[in-house]
């Protein structure tokens, strides 16, 4: 069996005084794609942010390891350098920082950590233009400020571009399908599929099943009330789409 990339064990986390995750456990191995589905307020985004290291979340019990290391003890930049990538549900606009400068800074920070050669502006531009083809992104977006004035679809493409540039071993996609029309969804999904491979694992967090028509998961988990209440294969997603979340008997989250 392949290596365990991510192991979440009885994870409890709260925001302020409010417990959100209440004993979540999950194991993800190399090459696997796991979908985490659940109603609003079930803790999907909290899980993504806790794994990426955002401030404001307090882990009260349990933990998570990444390739055997304590993931939650690492600074956000160290997680990224070690190969964890979060595609944001709401990518942040950063006026004044050009997209290509940002991508180069990120690439070189990660490359340096991995002992790979850093790239100067010229070679990097060539490299990133190739990657932009992955998501059918007009290279003009490389010269614009990070996400500034991008449409919803452009922002999500930019997230997948960053993933392609950083080549993570674990990619967490938080509601990457939200706000996309069907064409944009297909482009983004195709970008993700090109990244699939034996050395890389995905956790796809989504409310709706439709992304999973294009990014077909190996496993589907239902998150409800801060815990995984049901796991199955890809057919579970179809059943959820048809019948909703009610039949699971899932307790409604504290939303």
């Amino acid at each position: 069996m392949s290596n365990i990339v991510l192991k979440i064990d009885n994870l409890h986390a709260k925001v302020g005084d409010k417990p959100i995750l209440k004993g979540l456990s999950l194991e993800v191995r190399e090459g696997e794609v796991h979908a985490i589905m659940g109603p609003n307020g079930s803790g999907k985004s909290t899980l993504s942010y806790v794994l990426a290291g955002r401030d404001g979340y307090q882990v009260t019990e349990g933990g998570a390891s990444y390739l055997g290391k304590d993931l939650l003890a690492m600074a956000p930049e160290d997680r990224a350098r070690e190969g964890v990538f979060l595609a944001f549900q709401y990518p942040v606009e950063i006026p004044g920082v050009s997209n290509k400068y940002f991508l180069k800074a990120a690439y070189n920070a990660v490359a340096k950590h991995r002992g790979a050669p850093e790239l100067d502006a010229g070679p990097f531009l060539k490299f990133v233009k190739e990657k932009a083809k992955f998501v059918e992104m007009d290279p003009a977006f490389l010269n614009r400020s990070v996400n500034e004035g991008f449409s919803g679809g452009e922002k999500k493409r930019n997230e997948v571009l960053q993933m392609a540039v950083l080549e993570p071993r674990l990619a967490i996609l938080d509601e990457t399908d939200s706000g996309l029309d069907i064409d944009a969804l297909k482009i983004v999904a195709s970008g993700i599929n090109k990244m699939r491979g034996p050395g890389r694992a995905f956790v796809v967090v989504t409310h709706y099943q439709r992304l999973l028509d294009y990014v077909v998961p190996d496993f589907v988990h239902v998150l409800s009330g801060g815990r995984i209440v049901k796991s199955g294969g890809k057919e579970l997603a179809l059943q959820l789409e048809k019948e909703g979340y009610g039949w699971i008997g899932a307790e409604k989250a504290g939303a």
Partner: protein, 439 residues
């Protein structure tokens, strides 16, 4: 009330004593009286409440003299591009200019003030015999009284200064090591249809306090255009007071870009009068303030004619115990209809101990105008920081990128590419983390 005049009377005797026309002597005495009447500004003086001007009042300055060091300033100036540069060192214009400057175009004259006063003072009589309106500008009045040198730029009708002109004010310690003061004037006259770009830079190299007190006056005739870059990097103990009075004629355009990158105290007063119909001004500024530095920017734009435009944006980044004051008034006079003006001040606080006061303000005495203003004080966005860090960019680098992003908007407005590059490098060098890493 202090007795401000006392310390400067001997300076006045010297400035007014040399061989010079009686009208100039009279003008100096009138300006000196204007200074004496206002006195040194204190924390109770209107418009100066937040300026620690006592740092000037309490320092026993001697008139600037020859610098002790011969090390020079080559390569230290930010402005690398000027094909012509005139250097004012410790209050004196160095003879001969610099480099292999080609001849000035026809109709353009660039001279030392001392030279003009010696050889053809009558040509400056119209501007020098009228004491500048120095209300609220005691140091401007003092410069008018005492300045013996400076730079005079005159561009005749429809002439163009074909390349930027650099004016470098450089200061360094004297043999005595004591605090020094230099009172200087910069006179710019653009006749009808004339244009020029000036890069005026202050560079402080010494350890002892050096006070540069500059009075700038510019007159733009009909359809004239002046781009006025002002780069300020005084030394750690450097003090700068500058009063700039600009008159913008019909359909003329004045553009100012002020960058403050150092100095114990930099107080700048910029007063622009849009005196002709359709006159236009754009005032831009970026200050990076840290340590115990104080940068104090006061601007007044007077819309005195129909159809004037003002676009003003000042930004400041405050770190450590730095203090920044912005006071921007647009004064729309009766009859100045179709005035279109905006004044914005945006500030980024990096430290709890930093202090910023911002006051964009309008006084409107016309009824058909479009006026907008706003002031903002913010901190680095935690969401942006996390986003950058989540891509592997270290925290210090992420902060640096965001500070740079905040400031770069002002640098991008600079039309001269080599200057833009030098400013970018200077902005990076002023980053808090850059200072820590270099230490």
């Amino acid at each position: 009330m202090t007795t401000p005049a006392a310390g400067f009377e001997s300076d006045l005797r010297r400035a007014a004593g040399a061989a010079q026309p009686p009208w100039l002597k009279t003008a100096r005495e009138a300006s000196f009286a204007a200074f004496a009447a206002q006195g040194f500004p204190t924390s109770k003086t209107e418009g100066w409440r937040r300026t620690p001007a006592d740092r000037i009042a309490k320092t026993p300055f001697e008139p600037a003299g020859r610098p002790a060091a011969r090390t020079g300033f080559a390569g230290k100036a930010l402005c690398p591009l000027a094909v012509r540069r005139i250097v004012v060192q410790n209050g004196r214009v160095l003879p001969g200019g610099e480099g292999t400057a080609p001849a000035l175009p026809a109709g353009v004259r660039v001279q030392a003030l001392s030279e003009v006063l010696r050889e053809e003072p009558e040509t400056l009589r119209p501007v020098l015999s009228a004491a500048p309106d120095a209300k609220g500008l005691p140091f401007g009045a003092l410069a008018a009284a005492l300045a013996e040198d400076g730079v005079v730029v005159r561009v005749a009708r429809h002439a163009r200064l074909d390349a930027p002109l650099g004016v470098l004010f450089v200061s360094d310690d004297a043999e005595s090591g004591r605090p020094q003061a230099a009172h200087l004037r910069l006179l710019v006259s653009l006749e009808e249809g004339a244009s020029a770009e000036l890069v005026v830079e202050s560079l402080g190299l010494g350890k002892a306090p050096f006070w540069t007190n500059l009075l700038t006056q510019a007159v733009l005739g009909e359809g004239a255009a002046l781009k006025h870059y002002r780069l300020q990097r005084e030394g750690e103990a450097g003090l700068l007071t500058e009063a700039a009075l600009v008159d913008v004629g019909r359909a003329a355009r004045y553009e100012s870009h002020a960058f403050d990158f150092g100095g114990a105290l930099a107080r700048g007063d910029l007063r622009v009068r849009l005196s002709g119909e359709g006159a236009d001004c754009a005032l831009n500024g970026l200050a990076l303030v840290r340590g115990a530095e104080v940068v104090d920017r006061h601007t007044v734009v007077e819309h005195a004619a129909v159809g004037g435009t003002t676009r003003e944006l000042y930004k400041a980044v405050l770190d450590e115990r730095g203090r920044f004051v912005f006071d921007g008034l647009v004064d729309v006079r009766p009859g100045a209809q179709k005035t279109d003006a905006s004044v914005y001040s945006k500030n980024l606080l990096l430290s709890e101990d930093a202090d910023v006061r911002t006051d964009p303000e309008f006084k409107i005495l016309a009824d058909d105008v479009s006026c907008k203003h706003g002031g903002a004080i913010g901190r680095l966005s935690p969401e942006s920081l996390f986003y950058l860090r989540s891509r592997g960019i270290g925290e210090a680098e992420a902060r640096r990128m965001l500070v740079y992003a905040f400031g770069s908007e002002m640098i991008e407005r600079v039309g001269l590419e080599p200057l833009r590059e030098a400013l970018t490098a200077a902005l990076h060098a002023r980053m808090p983390e850059a200072a820590e890493e270099a230490a």
